[in-house]
């Protein structure tokens, strides 16, 4: 679960177009003092709610703190402890698995769905609405619903499988070997709608003339998809993959609602580890250190992703 955010590419596009437009005029060249004053509340909110907490987080990660009283500076001891802790490393691995697994699943599925609708499949106006439904349900409701639905016997999924003669005693969430896959499947179910809308938007930007030319050349629909659509939507697609991976990496609510990180530590991801350490055991220092480690990994991941994306774009 993470804050709502604007897809960064669109923000950058806004910057680029405004610069290119470069409207001259006294208002634009220098910012009047009155305008600067009006911008203050927003800037203060940004510093107070985002800037200060990050600085404070780093400070807490270098301290020993139980939630009450003063913080005691202990240097890098929290990091040493955290990076040597097998539970934390397991959580890191789970986060990476959840992030990559659901991002890939979501984007493959969303690309197929987008291709169907942009090809003008019948009923696509209804599909557009229905496929986004899972995305609007609160994540905790999604977690509760699916965890009940995969229960043996009484769960709807098992009931369906039982009716098909495939057995209704599957206890996937209770088994360490399968629990994470259930969470990934639910993350895909919930996340596909958003990715579908964004990818569909990119597909609809592809000029019709490109398809017409290919059709005249006798290219099959499948061939057109792979040689025209896919290369042209690649920048958007890679951005969606990156965003979905980051969100799933941070997806506290689904995991907490479905398994609380269990059985054992089979589905514990970094945010769950932070929550347990800080708010159940009162070890705020190590928890902050885990949060810092997770943030640094995400940052590196984001930079590499953007770098790969921009390099690919430059190649073409």
């Amino acid at each position: 679960m993470s804050a709502p955010r604007a897809v960064s590419a669109s923000g950058l596009a806004v910057e680029a177009t405004s610069r290119a437009r470069g409207r001259p005029g006294p208002l634009q060249r220098r910012t009047s003092r009155a305008v600067l004053v009006t911008l203050l509340p927003g800037i203060v909110a940004l510093v107070l709610f985002f800037g200060v907490p990050i600085v404070e987080l780093v400070r807490t990660s270098l301290s020993s703190w139980t939630g009450i009283g003063d913080e005691e500076f202990i240097g890098l001891r929290n990091f040493q402890q955290v990076l040597g802790d097998t539970a934390v490393l397991k959580a890191l691995l789970n986060s990476v698995l959840l992030g990559t697994g659901s991002a890939i699943g979501i984007c493959v599925l969303a690309t197929i769905l987008g291709a169907l609708v942009s090809a003008g499949i019948r009923g696509s106006r209804v599909y557009r609405i229905v496929w986004f439904l899972p995305g609007i349900a609160p994540p905790s409701a999604v977690a509760v619903f699916w965890s009940l639905s995969v229960q043996p016997h009484s769960g709807a999924v098992n009931a369906v499988l039982g009716a098909l003669g495939l057995g209704d005693t599957h206890a996937w969430l209770a088994q360490a070997s399968t629990a994470l896959y259930v969470v990934i499947a639910v993350a895909i179910w919930q996340g596909a709608g958003f990715a579908f809308l964004v990818i569909l938007g990119a597909m609809e930007e592809v000029p019709v003339s490109a398809y017409e030319a290919a059709a005249i050349d006798g290219a099959s629909p499948l061939r057109r998809f792979f040689s025209i659509t896919l290369p042209l939507i690649r920048p958007v697609l890679s951005m969606v993959v990156l965003l979905e991976a980051i969100w799933a990496f941070n997806g506290f609510t689904l995991v907490w609602g479905m398994t609380k990180g269990g059985p054992g530590d089979a589905t514990a991801i970094l945010p769950v580890q932070v929550y347990k350490d800080a708010f159940q055991f009162g070890n705020f220092g190590p928890a902050a250190a885990i949060a810092v480690v997770g943030g640094v990994i995400l940052l590196a991941f984001g930079f590499v992703g953007q770098w790969l994306g921009s390099r690919k774009a430059a190649d073409e």
């Binding site: 899972p134 994540p139 905790s140 907490w256 943030g295």
Partner: protein, 281 residues
């Protein structure tokens, strides 16, 4: 059907229908199970004939378990949090976005960059410090304070989306208002705000879905059981009603179906919000 509808076309349609069923069926199932007795949920979750209907599940979910809280209270808390958050983030967001569009390119770029960076910050990195700040200020268990925090968290998305809209705002309207003697703030309130209703609705919806469903912060900052919002309350239900699945499904119905209705009514504005770059998770 067109004559040359191929095997591929049929497969595509089948796939589309299957995914639609998988998307919509859970919502119908939640409603169905919310009306069933616990024994029927356990022995025949999918059946619709020979069922002992049990609308009392809703009363249980509404009032909560004995000595606990129910949806009557969660709904009030969720409403407080959402209204405070949306009013705050939309007003300050529109204000900041509009005046950023009047600033010089350098100032504007700096501000937009700042908000872009803020959107990439994972909640888990902010959680601990918010807790310690709320603790110090004795604001734990206050839905009002959580609403203010959500407003700040939604601010970057609001600013980024609305800024794009205001960049294209006709300068003539601004100039006409200036000739009429309106100051820049009054121009914003009287001229700009009324003309940006469309994008503001889209932004409010996108952020509204986020705030309504946010769990990670709420679970930490709303310590007192009587201060909890719907998503946290649902997780409590899971523990408290472990033997009373019907009541949990009634809770799920109360938590999701109103959202579905809002979405079906406003689905164009929601899709527009997503297309403009708004994302809620």
């Amino acid at each position: 059907m067109r004559r040359h509808a191929s095997v591929g076309g049929a497969a595509a349609q089948l796939w589309a229908v299957l995914w639609s069923v998988l998307c919509a069926l859970p919502f119908l199932l939640i409603i169905l199970l919310a009306f069933k007795s616990n024994t029927d949920i356990f022995t025949d979750p999918l059946g619709v004939v020979d069922i002992r209907w049990s609308p009392g599940n809703f009363a249980e979910a509404w009032n909560g378990p004995e000595g606990g809280q129910g949806f009557a209270l969660y709904l009030v808390n969720s409403a407080i949090v959402t209204v405070v958050a949306l009013v705050g983030c939309v007003l300050l967001g529109a204000f900041t976005a509009y005046f950023a569009s009047l600033a010089s390119p350098r100032v504007r770029t700096a501000i937009i960059r700042g908000f872009l960076v803020a959107t990439t910050m994972p909640l888990v990195m902010l959680l601990i410090q918010y807790y310690s700040a709320f603790n110090t200020l004795s604001l734990l268990s206050s839905p009002w304070a959580l609403g203010v925090l959500y407003a700040a968290l939604c601010l970057p998305t609001c600013v980024l989306i609305l800024h794009g809209f205001y960049l294209g705002f006709p300068a003539e309207l601004r100039e006409a208002a200036a000739i009429d003697g309106l100051g820049i703030v009054r121009t914003f309130v009287r001229v700009v705000l009324p003309l940006s209703r469309g994008p503001i609705v889209a932004v409010a919806l996108v952020n509204g879905f986020f705030v309504w469903g946010e769990t990670q912060l709420a679970i930490v900052l709303l310590q007192d059981p009587t201060s909890r919002t719907i998503p946290v309350g649902l997780l409590d239900f899971q523990g408290q009603f472990s033997a009373d699945t019907g009541a949990i499904f009634a809770g799920l119905t109360l938590a999701t179906i109103p959202l579905v209705v809002v979405y079906l009514v406003f689905n164009r504005a929601v899709a527009k919000g997503v297309a403009l770059g708004g994302v809620f998770r």
